[in-house]
């Protein structure tokens, strides 16, 4: 009897803590944003605890299936196979867009080329166009930089710009965005892609056209927010429908003014 009472007491004590505690896991792209938002959230609600861990989009979603996380961060949409798997174990994944991330195509500052169409970019990254002359530049070999195959940015660029086709085998893959900026800034014929937040004067961003050259749009937070800049990807949170009540306060917090300002501050585009 005493044991039961103790148990009840303990669970009563634990219940409010459990309700407020949230675990967020997944993509490393979304990680800095989630961390910043979680910190602000905890400051505004002292009783809440949010723990944020990285590991990659795939890791986050499989943690959601196991129930070891409440929110899964993903820089890509949930895959069909993953969705099926969740459905089979009677969970319904719900999607929530946290923010948008724009990718900018960058070249060396001395490069006279200012704009490219998607088709030209596809040709360059697939190795069909190998000289800047072919796209209106000077007579120089194009050096293509890309991210490592494990990165979500690599996948998104492949999906959006290359229309799911493969990069050529000779692309130089760099382990981090910083390395791409460094290399592009010191290589005259270089081309690469980075998140909008990483743009700096060491490199030049190109205007991109997705309609065959009729409209070129330069990457900026403004053009990305208005929806005119085409190379934009949503960043997602996934949660289990049964768990909605628990994650709702945090998701609602993301829509507040301070959270949106912070999102913008970190170089992401608020939802």
């Amino acid at each position: 009897m005493k044991k039961l009472a103790l148990f009840l007491l303990l669970s009563l004590l634990a219940a409010p803590v459990r309700l407020a505690a949230q675990r967020i896991k997944g993509s490393d792209t979304v990680l800095p944003l989630s961390q910043a938002l979680a910190e602000m959230f905890m400051q505004s609600r002292p009783q809440a605890t949010v723990t944020v861990t990285g590991g990659g989009s795939g890791v986050g979603i499989s943690a959601l299936m196991d129930g070891t996380t409440d929110l899964a961060m993903a820089s890509r949409r949930i895959k069909f196979g993953e969705k099926m798997k969740m459905k089979q174990s009677h969970h319904t994944p719900c999607e929530f867009v946290v923010a948008y991330d724009a990718l900018a195509v960058i070249v060396h500052p001395s490069n006279p080329v200012k704009r490219l169409t998607r088709e030209q970019l596809e040709g360059i990254f697939r190795g069909k166009i190998t000289n800047w002359k072919q796209v209106g530049g000077e007579d120089a070999k194009i050096i293509v930089y890309s991210r490592e195959t494990s990165s979500g940015t690599y996948e998104f660029f492949k999906e959006s710009v290359l229309r799911n086709k493969n990069y050529m085998s000779g692309v130089l893959s760099m382990p981090a965005t910083g390395a791409i900026i460094q290399s592009v800034s010191q290589t005259r014929g270089a081309i690469g892609y980075v998140g909008l937040a990483y743009l700096n004067p060491m490199v030049k961003a190109l205007a991109v056209s997705y309609d065959g050259g009729r409209h070129y749009v330069a990457p900026s937070v403004k053009s990305a927010m208005s929806g005119r800049y085409p190379v934009v990807r949503p960043l997602y949170y996934y949660y289990d429908k049964a768990n909605e009540a628990r994650v709702r306060p945090f998701l609602r917090f993301i829509d507040t003014k301070v959270a949106r300002a912070k999102t913008l501050d970190l170089g992401f585009i608020p939802r």
Partner: protein, 397 residues
């Protein structure tokens, strides 16, 4: 009492010896068992299948052909042994574009029918779809899957580990890159290392070598990431300007960084070996009228050759297994290098860069373990060579 301590010490040593060997064997076993799984994986991503129109007779597609088909580089079925008709590629995402959500059903229960509808309508279609949606259908032709052939992996020249529907794990470019960059690293490090160690052991006044030795040993203590960043920020632009290269990230940059990293090992080990050359031999040589230089290359170096070889091999070992520095300066392009000024990709860099996101137990993960096995064999061969060389030298003496 003393006897007990003696006995205890012996036990402890025996146990630790056995435990270490067992752990090493377990690690090797783990490496091999993970790697062997690769050849049991289907070539198309697990859980998916390639569906063709019923009239299409193509029955076997290699990973290479699948990639070319989906990249729209092969546009006619004739090129892969089929009838003369154009190829149309169909992915699951296309389904969302062609049909509304209601048509597909909330749980995608009608998706299978819609896929079949598309496949029936176009004779040249190739659809990459989840197996569960089209299983057991007779109105479409599913390409029977086969396991990844050993030949395609060990002799393949393309490395596309995340290509969908069919990843390609050709390991030749990575192996070539590793050997190429290590070979040049040793070519650079060997003369410098030998020169410095001869200078320190034979020529330098004691005061100089007392200062030089700790400095060189300090070089060995610098973390490899620091070498990598140094390479990217200093060596790469330098090479680019000197050789007027379009791109500075190259095998040569990697070789120079690796040579720098291997130098301390080569120098310290071979210097110690030369210092061990008995004074009497040196004096005998000088007494016979040989000059200092003749003494060095006729007496001291041959005497300490086995020590020098082990120093060199330890240096090679470091070069081949080095990850971080190479990852930052070689450009990591998975192509077979034709010159040392080309970008290349090494095995350790590949493992380091890709293992983090490769799903555990998948084909990509196992391919990376197989690369580990290859690396293990390379080091094993090198180590056995050393054993051979030093054994031969001992019998000669």
């Amino acid at each position: 009492m003393k006897k007990w301590i003696d006995r205890l010490a012996r036990r402890v040593f025996t146990v630790s010896g056995f435990v270490t060997s067992a752990v090493i064997l377990l690690i090797i076993g783990f490496l091999f068992s993970e790697a062997a799984g690769l050849f049991r994986q289907p070539i198309v991503e697990e859980g998916y299948v390639l569906a063709l129109n019923k009239s299409n007779t193509v029955d076997r597609l290699s990973a290479e052909e699948i990639k070319l088909l989906f990249d729209e580089d092969i546009t006619n079925w004739r090129d892969v042994g089929g009838a003369d008709m154009p190829v149309r590629v169909f992915r699951l995402e296309d389904l969302d574009r062609l049909y509304t959500e209601e048509e597909l059903g909330a749980e995608y229960e009608h998706a299978g029918d819609k896929i079949a509808e598309q496949v029936r309508a176009d004779r040249g279609i190739i659809a990459f779809v989840p197996t569960v949606l089209v299983e057991g259908r007779t109105d479409i032709h599913l390409v029977p899957d086969h396991t990844i052939p050993v030949k395609d992996v060990l002799l393949g020249t393309e490395w596309y580990p995340t290509a969908t529907p069919s990843p390609i794990f050709g390991m030749v470019p990575l192996l070539a890159g590793t050997l190429w960059v290590s070979f040049f690293a040793i070519l650079i490090a060997l003369p410098f290392g030998l020169a410095v160690s001869i200078y320190m052991a034979e020529v330098a006044p004691p005061g100089v070598s007392r200062v030089l030795k700790p400095v060189i040993e300090l070089l060995g203590g610098i973390p490899s990431v620091v070498y990598g960043f140094f390479g990217l920020a200093v060596i790469v632009p330098l090479l680019q300007q000197t050789f007027r290269l379009p791109v500075g990230e190259s095998g040569l940059a990697g070789s120079i960084v690796l040579a720098l990293m291997a130098l301390p090992t080569i120098i310290t080990v071979s210097e110690d070996a030369m210092r061990n050359c008995p004074r009497t031999m040196r004096e005998a040589s000088l007494a016979l009228g040989a000059t200092r230089w003749q003494t060095i290359y006729k007496v001291v170096v041959p005497y300490s050759i086995s020590g020098i070889t082990s120093g060199v091999v330890l240096g090679i070992g470091r070069a081949i297994g080095e990850t971080m520095a190479v990852l930052m300066v070689t450009g990591n392009a998975a192509v077979i290098p034709t010159s040392i000024l080309d970008p290349l990709r090494t095995i350790p860099a590949t493992i380091a860069a890709e293992l983090g996101e490769a799903p555990a137990g998948g084909a990509h993960y196992q391919a990376l373990f197989l690369l580990g096995v290859i690396l293990f064999f390379i080091t094993l061969i090198i180590n056995s060579c050393v054993e051979l060389v030093s054994a031969r030298n001992k019998t000669k003496r």
